[in-house]
């Protein structure tokens, strides 16, 4: 049926030569699992584009409604949390995929002549992906989004002469508000995608003009080429499926709840950027005073320029990593610094006591079971049972609480607290909440 239709179409549109050009592209040295990262990046981009379009179906880009509309997607729309989860984790996957793709290109020296243009377009694509990440982060309009964007935008303010003006342009005025949200939305869903699609097309056009680089050793390359279809296509497809399954699992298993609705008056909120901006966030902690602009814009600009013009900076014609000690060493040092900063930042984040989700669940159970009917926490609730405001200081042992909730009389004879029918999970959550009730410091 399909082949008949294809033959009919082919007899009119002469598709066979197109098919041949697309599928019989020669892969020097044969298909390889190391060449899958470009396709994987393209796949994640398509996934982001599709899930993004669907999110836009219910999203409203105004400060009054953005938060509610995302909450509506999360709670009321069928598969809404899944679609949003895919888009959220897809953003991280995009950064990972493009990072691996660039690393492979770098290791294989595939940016060297005649592929300098392809590398430069690739760097621009990378910057666009970062711009996507930054603009998309504001859209849910929750506290994290608001304050992280506030910090990000203010960094542009340290650029001399034009800084203040640039900040106003980014924000669309004096403060982060309605105009900021609508322009970030427009940039995220209209401007950036158009640019990105154009550059992807150019990137692929150049690829087809110059061909893939293939192995770095002449000996392996001399093995001859293999057609793109079917083996490389099969490898790409398997990796795409893997990426899709991992993202789906993350979207289902690791929900990404909103924080509170953005509140410009609440300055106590400490924003934390997404992990792919963390290394930079950490860097800014070490640079103070007159040197700050160095970190906020001189260094990033320098790194971007070096990346962009790398094919002209590294003029060593060899592609084999062994014969490129300087390039490899600089790449290694750069990545070490980035990952060291990322590592330090993550360890710091985990050192800070952060809200444990089980505490919030425990608190909800506390309300659900009407514990406040007898117990008081910070002045709220009845005075029949003991005051629980600082119960964790009096009873710091987890086991005691678990035992107590199972059967209050077993650890506290004479207690008239009833046994509540609690599941293991509920027992643990309620205990976590009890253990969080302690004096500060």
């Amino acid at each position: 049926m399909f082949s008949k239709f294809y033959a009919w179409l082919d007899s009119r549109l002469r598709l066979k030569p197109v098919e041949k050009t697309l599928l019989d592209e020669p892969i020097p040295g044969g298909a390889s699992w190391i060449y899958v990262f470009g396709s994987a990046t393209l796949f994640v981009f398509l996934l982001q584009a599709i899930t993004g379009m669907f999110l836009a179906v219910y999203y409203a880009p105004t400060p009054d409604h953005a938060y509610d509309s995302i909450q509506f997607i999360e709670r009321d729309v069928l598969f809404g949390a899944f679609v949003r989860g895919l888009h959220h984790w897809g953003a991280s996957a995009m950064v990972v995929a493009i990072g691996l793709h660039m690393l492979q290109t770098f290791l294989y020296g595939a940016y060297k002549p005649p592929r300098e243009v392809m590398w430069m377009i690739g760097v621009m694509l990378f910057l666009l992906v970062m711009a996507f990440a930054f603009t998309g982060y504001l859209l849910p309009w929750d506290q994290t989004a608001y304050w992280a964007t506030q910090v990000g935008v203010n960094m542009a303010g340290t650029i001399p002469f034009v800084g203040d003006f640039l900040v106003k342009v980014l924000r669309g005025g004096e403060s982060l508000g309605a105009l900021t949200l609508s322009r970030f939305f427009a940039v995220h869903v209209l401007f950036l995608p158009s640019l990105l699609i154009g550059l992807i097309a150019l990137h692929l056009f150049v690829l087809r003009r110059v061909g893939p680089a293939g192995p770095w050793t002449d000996r392996r390359a001399s093995l001859g080429s293999e057609t793109f279809y079917p083996r490389q296509v099969y490898m790409d497809a398997v990796v795409m499926l893997g990426v899709f399954l991992v993202l789906s699992a993350l979207a289902i298993a690791v929900p990404f709840p909103l924080t509170d609705k953005a509140n410009p008056a609440d300055t106590s909120f400490v924003p934390v950027p997404e992990w792919y901006f963390l290394f930079y966030y950490e860097l800014l902690k070490y640079v103070h005073g007159p040197l700050e602009p160095l970190a906020t814009w001189v260094l990033p600009l320098l790194v971007i320029l070096i990346m962009l013009f790398w094919p002209f900076i590294d003029r060593n014609p060899a592609r084999n990593p062994i014969r490129r000690p300087v390039a490899l060493a600089s790449g290694f040092v750069f990545l070490s610094v980035v990952f060291a900063l990322l590592g330090i930042s993550i360890s710091h984040l985990y050192a800070v006591p952060r809200a444990d989700p089980s505490i919030a669940r425990g608190k909800a159970l506390y309300a659900e079971f009407g514990c406040a009917g007898c117990h008081r926490v910070h002045g709220e609730g009845g005075a029949v049972g003991p005051d629980l405001s600082y119960i964790a200081d009096a009873r710091p042992e987890r086991e005691w609480h678990v035992k107590h909730f199972r059967d209050p009389q077993s650890v506290s004879p004479g207690s008239f607290m009833p046994k509540f029918p609690l599941t293991e999970q509920q027992l643990n959550d309620l205990t976590s909440y009890m253990l969080s009730l302690k004096r500060p410091g």
Binding site: D24, P26, G30, L47, I50, T51, F54, V57, Y58, A60, H65, D68, S69, Q71, F72, D76, V77, L78, F79, G80, F82, V83, G224, S225, E226, T227, Y229, P230, R231, V233, Y234, A237, V238, M240, L241, F244, S248
Partner: protein, 179 residues
Amino acid sequence: MVDESGVQGGFSTPVGTRRSFFAWVTRMAAAVIGVGLAVPLGGYLISPALTRRERPWIDVGGVDGLIAGQPKQLDHVMAVRDGWAESKSHKAVWAVKQPGGEVTVYSPICTHLGCGYRWDEEKRTFQCPCHGSVYDLEGKVLEGPAPRPLDKLPSKIENGRLLVIYKEFKSGVKSPVEL
């Protein structure tokens, strides 16, 4: 073209069962991704069509003010949830107290094409100004193009207050179809 050793135009390419295996895996991967996306995205898109609005009982006023056989339009404000937006909507229903004390409540919308009708005290009929449909006190059609009697709304009296579930019905059809 492709010879025995799988060399095509100077490039090697897998042939035979090896080739069809790669093609099969590729197709399967595409199918799994396609279905894995199509099902949730389809559900996501049609989701609003599947959920019915919850209709609460709304207090439209006391029954003491109603006189038997004398229709009265009762205004009320109800909160309407429209996706993520919530708005207040002004609605009015027609209440007719029966001699026995029970109250019949009519949707304020003409069953013909959805205009609002009014009560003519002199002729003791409900009249629709748009296309001249006329109903009697029981909601039966006396004249005009209306295809069915006035739509009755579920109602009850609690503690002297009249409670109503506001509904809208498809206009222009023989039997009432809730929207």
